[in-house]
């Protein structure tokens, strides 16, 4: 299978604080990888390196330019980055995803606009095209930002903690949507919520300075240990219940 990009013994740091060390990592076309690990372990930094926002201090990241370049990466940042009271419409926000393919002087063509209309329909946002962001629910807002990430038909979709602002009624729809998108693009999803994403991703990358790749989506004790602190997993059953460790 062809790789979209490969990282070779890559290290990244902020000033003198080394956040990623000697990372080897490959992502191929149909991957759906959950990136997990403790807070401050380097998950978001990994995305920044892929996006080109942070230059590695050691090693390199190589893109397979036949399949992908930096213009064909979609990015869903954590919700806190934009101001939801900003006077901007749903259509405008989704169209801003086209900026990655434009020069500094940018006009939106009519085909850009009709593509925005398609995305709005695809994500179930019809009727909200001219709404401003502060009129939307958390789930709708998330779909708008997902729309911004996918309007340019990316080959790789990067999601940073999408669970942070999802409302529970929309949660299943959202992951179902990702599964559909995964047919056309690779997905890398950062989350600290290992329990919720476990049923959706195909494989895991545990990031805690180093990176360990786990090809299957089963959660192992080793992965849980990456957190370095006690965590609890949630399972669903006919009767709500708590699972305790076996007695020794």
């Amino acid at each position: 299978m062809a790789y979209l990009f490969e990282m070779h013994s890559l290290s990244a740091s902020y000033d003198t604080n080394v956040v990623l060390k000697d990372v080897d990592f490959k992502v191929s076309e149909s991957d759906f990888i959950g990136v997990i690990g403790p807070n401050g372990g380097g998950k978001t930094t990994l995305l920044k390196v892929i996006l080109g926002l942070l230059k590695p201090v050691k090693g390199k990241i190589v893109f397979n330019t036949d399949l992908i370049n930096r213009n064909s990466i979609g990015y869903l940042p954590q919700i806190s980055t934009g101001d939801i009271n900003y006077p901007v419409t749903v259509t405008d926000v989704i169209l801003s995803g086209m900026m990655i393919q434009k020069k500094i002087i940018s006009r939106m063509s009519s085909s850009d606009r009709s593509r925005a209309g398609e995305v709005i329909n695809e994500l179930g946002l019809s009727g909200l095209a001219d709404s401003s962001l502060n009129e939307l629910s958390g789930g709708q807002l998330q779909r708008v930002l997902l729309g911004r990430a996918i309007i340019g038909n990316p080959k790789l979709l990067l999601l940073d903690e999408p669970g942070n602002f999802v409302d529970s009624t929309f949660e299943n729809d959202f992951y179902e949507k990702l599964r559909e998108l995964n047919k056309r693009m690779a997905i890398l999803m950062v989350s600290h919520d290992i329990g919720i994403i476990s049923s959706h991703v195909k494989s895991y990358a545990c990031v805690n300075r180093g990176l360990h790749y786990h090809p299957s989506s089963e959660i192992t004790n080793e992965q849980l240990l990456a957190y370095g602190c006690p965590i609890q997993l949630i399972t669903h059953g006919d009767v709500p219940h708590t699972v305790l460790k076996y007695h020794n």
Binding site: L51, T81, Y86, V93, S96
Partner: protein, 272 residues
């Protein structure tokens, strides 16, 4: 005869001044209100008073002094806030008072006559020169071209800077250019509205506009219209009532804002 020529000149100057003030304030104002930069802009306008004082003292045009001072202070605050080395609101507060203090000291030190301080603090159409009007006209043109060409770039950078950095390496350059243009707009409007009042010339019109639309381009257009209405009405009222023009303009704009707010509430109630 002489009086009618004077009146004609006064009306033309007033009308052109109102048009250019509302265009520049509408464009720059929409930017600062949307981006929550009102306090920074207040700081810029007060800091520029330092430049006015130094201009008097050094015998150069006070507006030039104010322009240099305000652009440097605006870029300074932007730079400091980008680097996160200092709290932005504290930096603005210091700059605000420092500019006023510098201005007063240098005007006090200037030998000879005391300049018309009230005119700079509260604005006066009588001190507006033809050169001021021409400068405002050029500024209007610059802002229209700048916002026209880079509309989406400016909109998206100010909406979500973090996301913009993922596709553009020009984010900081655009922020600095736009902030410098805002500073210049403030300085050029000081003759009309004064150091103390100019900030409301920029902030009230977009707030009137945002009662009726959330679309950025429409906010700009409505701001210009609201700004022109308030400025022109303010002129006429100040002329006939014999009260200071800067204060009358701001007062008129606030009245328009209150009326718009009430209409807006009534419409919402009716529809809701």
């Amino acid at each position: 005869m002489e009086e009618s020529i004077f009146q004609y000149d006064f009306i033309i100057k007033g009308l052109l001044g109102a048009v250019f003030a509302s265009i520049t304030a509408g464009l720059a104002g929409t930017y600062i209100v949307s981006k929550r930069m009102v306090f920074l802009s207040g700081g810029i306008s007060h800091a520029s008073f330092g430049g006015i004082g130094i201009g008097y003292f050094a015998g150069i045009n006070p507006v030039v002094g104010a322009a240099v001072f305000s652009i440097l202070s605006a870029l300074g605050v932007e730079y400091l806030s980008v680097r996160h080395k200092i709290r932005e609101d504290s930096a603005i507060g210091i700059l605000w008072a420092f500019g006023m203090a510098t201005g007063i000291i240098f005007i006090y030190l200037t030998p000879g006559y005391t300049p018309n301080l009230m005119g700079y603090l509260f604005g006066s159409i009588l001190t507006v020169t033809n050169a001021d009007i021409i400068a405002l006209g050029i500024m209007s043109l610059i802002l229209i071209v700048y916002f026209g060409v880079f509309y989406r770039t400016i909109l998206y950078i100010s909406f979500d800077e973090v996301f913009a950095r993922t596709y553009s390496s020009y984010v900081d350059i655009f922020k600095y250019i736009t902030t410098a243009l805002v500073a210049l707009t403030i300085v050029l409007n000081i003759r009309m509205a004064g150091v103390v009042l100019v900030i409301s010339l920029l902030t009230i019109p977009p707030n009137i506009a945002m009662l009726f639309t959330r679309v950025y381009l429409k906010i700009i257009v409505l701001s210009v219209i609201a700004g022109f209405t308030g400025t022109a009405a303010g002129y006429v009222i100040s002329y006939f009532a014999g009260i200071p023009v800067g204060a009358t303009i701001i007062f008129t704009l606030v009245v328009i804002w209150i009326v718009a707010k009430v209409i807006n509430q009534v419409v919402i109630k009716k529809n809701g």
